[in-house]
């Protein structure tokens, strides 16, 4: 009877300990950093002194831990992609790690994860094409050629030479953009005439949650990028967090690549800068 009571007490005690440890673990796993308002203001003042301007509303004050994301090379089976985009009966060549597929007026070039497709006389008429529905048509074309991103953000739509729309899409994973990967398409009323892009498919997270470097510290480091251009005022137009793939370092026989969590800083001169959220180092972008 006495031992039964001790067990009950111990169960309650360990239940409390387990709850405490579980909460502690969850907090440590998914740390959210909050930046004080004074720190944000001080950062803006330092930026202003260096001729860099930013709206306070653009600076995030709460930052959640991030994980690295594994991306798969979707162009490993080049023939499947060629079949999807050209249909059967194409001519294939392979030189210096570059595949070239051709059929009638269409040409597809694949080098690693980069691909270019040209159709010099498209004949899939889209009579009702307009700025409003070009995104929907673009996503349908991508789905037809098996480029099946679950989530894509439109970065840019432009009407060129009053003839065709140029649309740039960027993949997203759980709401965060994957910088470095993009798909750019030219669509006219005759159909698709051109696509270029880096095609990587998001897979799974491959690291623990890693604490994010505060954006205020990143912005102070950002000043260093303009040391030689103090006279030229710069305005930061966007600050966002996402994943970055450095496509310049990838070999042609790539299988997977880790996308790094990054801060993206966009300036009014059209440049973007990428800072590793873990180390705080600038890892890409800029002039």
């Amino acid at each position: 009877m006495y031992w039964a009571r001790v067990k009950t007490i111990l169960i309650i005690l360990f239940l409390v300990i387990n709850i405490f440890l579980l909460v502690n673990r969850m907090i440590s796993v998914d740390q959210t950093i909050t930046v004080r308002s004074e720190t944000v203001e001080d950062t803006i003042a330092v930026l202003n002194k260096n001729n860099i301007f930013v709206d306070k509303k653009l600076i995030p004050v709460r930052m959640k831990s991030m994980r690295k994301l594994e991306m798969y090379n979707s162009l490993q089976e080049v023939d499947l992609f060629a079949q999807a985009i050209l249909g059967g009966g194409y001519h294939k060549t392979f030189n210096n790690n570059v595949y070239e597929f051709s059929k009638d007026s269409k040409t597809l070039i694949i080098e690693g994860i980069k691909f270019n497709y040209y159709d010099y006389s498209p004949n899939n008429a889209i009579n009702d094409l307009s700025e409003k529905n070009v995104e929907a048509y673009a996503k349908k074309i991508l789905s037809d050629i098996k480029i099946d991103y679950e989530d894509m953000a439109v970065k840019n739509i432009e009407k060129k030479d009053n003839e065709y729309y140029s649309i740039t899409l960027i993949p997203r994973y759980q709401g965060k953009e994957i910088y470095g990967c993009y798909i750019k398409m030219n669509i006219s009323k005759n159909g698709l005439s051109y696509i270029e892009g880096y095609w990587l498919t998001p897979g799974k997270y491959v690291s623990d949650f890693l604490p994010v470097r505060s954006i205020t510290g990143i912005l102070i480091d950002f000043i260093g990028n303009f040391k030689n251009n103090y006279n030229k005022p710069i305005t930061i137009t966007d600050i966002s967090i996402g994943f970055f793939v450095d496509t310049s370092m990838i070999s042609t026989n790539l299988k997977t690549i880790e996308a790094e969590p990054v801060w993206q800083i966009t300036t009014d001169d059209g440049n973007t800068y990428f800072y590793d959220t873990i180390s705080g180092e600038r890892i890409g972008g800029g002039e």
Partner: protein, 504 residues
């Protein structure tokens, strides 16, 4: 009663879960609010590292500088009978200690006289009672003296580099023994007379010659070292005079490459840290053949599934700075190189010792590794060195023959190839290997003369004359076989050739 059993199970589960969660919190690599996780820092403390090495299951076998200055082979000549000792023989270290003691007496320089000798006298000495010590590579004489503990010995000042030397009892009149050192740079032989117990030396020679070990002859004794017009069959292959020819057919065991699947994440993290890569921040991708590629610090590191690791600097002159063995990994990396003599050029000794320290950081099981390139000054480009290392099992080299990155087939590679420029790593290739015997049973190997004939015919189908620098028994590793069988090979300059039929 049933309720009590259930309570016991719940209690055990709760205790186990609390231990698991505590472990997760303590040992995760995350930052704590005030500093890095105590337990992560704790693992980096020096005394913890020292204690962690005292582990009976720890297979780590770091190499010391001394390891690279062991002779490749010691030949004990006792008149007609001749034995060879190499690393792996039971009594090799005992014999090496005796030789080292004699060599140290020379370096002390007390009552040492020297005079010029000749190649003829050198070869005649090898016929009589003597020790022949072969390092296999040229070693800078100053470094050899420094390794023996004599940084400023003047005895070897007249010699540039040493590849081999002979210790002989000398004449019957004086109590002096004689050391013949061949200067491999100047191609001259210097003869040193020094005071040493002659009867002790003779005793050691007699002690180490055993009828139970195979007997050898030197190629010059068989007249394989020069064209002999008197012979009925014209000799086209000329052998280096010191090449050893076994009198009887040799026998040896097969060896096996131990599994390299042990390259788990902990070991990969250790490799990354040895190249100053941060496992958390380094950029990583995988190639189609499952090679993992890391990019950081102006360099690229590839870890191949075959156990090959490759480091290359991507920006010239910005490769990793190798630190001395004494430097703590956690210390800030110096931007200016400390060097001998105050110049910015890192000395040969310092460069070599830093390479050794780095190899030990990359992989800690290197007992079979030996230097296979000369350890000599680079007169044209001081501070620029290329060192190669090969695996040797029981004194026999393991020749790695595999396809290279350009698609060329059966290219010979060294176990380790390092390029270093003033302490900065330019490139590094390392085949991570470990070997073990397949069984204790020995198998007979093709007679050396027959093997030489086969190699010559395949190498020189036009039957032209060729000078062979070495004939040896080695293991050939290719991309497919895990079990390696001993085969005869020859070395001509930097080229190593085996019988192409034999390798199939």
């Amino acid at each position: 009663m049933k309720k009590e059993k259930l309570k016991t199970i719940i209690l055990i589960l709760l205790i186990a879960n609390s231990l698991f969660l505590t472990n997760q919190i303590w040992f995760s690599k995350e930052l704590w609010s005030h500093d890095y996780n105590f337990f992560v820092k704790w693992r980096d403390w020096k005394w913890v590292k020292v204690l962690s090495k005292i582990n009976i299951n720890d297979e780590s076998n770091p190499i010391t500088m001394e390891h690279f200055f062991y002779p490749r082979k010691v030949v004990v000549n006792n008149g007609n009978y001749r034995n060879v000792y190499s690393h792996g023989d039971n009594r090799f270290f005992e014999l090496n200690n005796e030789i080292s003691s004699i060599f140290n007496t020379l370096l002390k320089g007390e009552k040492v006289k020297s005079e010029q000798s000749t190649d003829e006298e050198w070869l005649n000495t090898l016929k009589g009672k003597s020790f022949y010590i072969d390092y296999g590579v040229k070693i800078n004489a100053k470094i050899l003296a420094r390794m023996a503990g004599y940084k400023d010995s003047s005895v070897l000042s007249q010699i540039d580099s040493v590849r081999d030397f002979i210790v002989a009892p000398g004449d019957m009149i004086t109590n002096d023994i004689v050391l013949y050192i061949k200067d491999s740079e100047r191609n001259s032989v210097i003869k040193f007379f020094m005071n040493y117990d002659k009867s002790k030396l003779t005793g050691i020679i007699e002690e180490f010659v055993s009828n139970s070990k195979p007997n050898y002859t030197f190629s010059f004794e068989q007249k394989f070292d020069k064209v002999n017009p008197d012979k009925k069959v014209e000799q086209k292959a000329i052998l280096d005079p010191e090449i050893l020819i076994p009198v009887k057919i040799e026998a040896s065991q097969d060896i096996r490459i131990k599994s390299i699947n042990t390259l788990n994440m902990n070991k990969i993290d250790k490799i990354l840290k040895s190249f100053q890569y941060n496992p958390n921040t380094t950029r990583k991708y995988t190639e189609a053949d499952n090679t993992i590629v890391y990019v950081e610090n102006y360099s690229m590191l590839k870890i191949h599934p075959s156990g090959l690791i490759e480091y290359t600097e991507t920006d010239e002159g910005k490769g990793m700075l190798l630190l001395p063995e004494s430097a703590d990994d956690t210390q800030a990396v110096p931007t200016v190189l400390p060097s001998e003599g105050g110049s910015n050029t890192l000395s040969l000794y310092e460069s070599f010792s830093r390479v050794i320290a780095h190899i030990n950081k990359v992989w800690d099981n290197n007992e079979f590794l030996f230097i296979s390139s000369d350890i000599v000054e680079n007169a044209n480009k001081p501070g620029v060195y290329r060192f190669t290392f090969d695996y040797y099992y029981n004194g026999m080299p393991v020749i790695i023959q595999c396809d290279n990155e350009n698609g060329q087939q059966d290219v010979l590679r060294h176990a380790i190839e390092v390029e270093i420029i003033n302490g900065r790593l330019k490139s590094y290739r390392h085949y991570l290997r470990n070997f073990e015997e397949v069984s204790r049973a020995e198998k007979e190997i093709m007679p050396v003369i027959l093997a030489l004939d086969n190699i010559y015919k395949s190498f020189k189908p036009d039957q032209s004359e060729v000078k062979i620098d070495d004939v040896f028994l080695g293991f050939w590793e290719n991309d497919t076989d895990v079990i390696l069988q001993p085969r005869w090979g020859i070395r001509i300059g930097d080229r190593v050739i085996t019988d192409p039929e034999d390798i199939k």
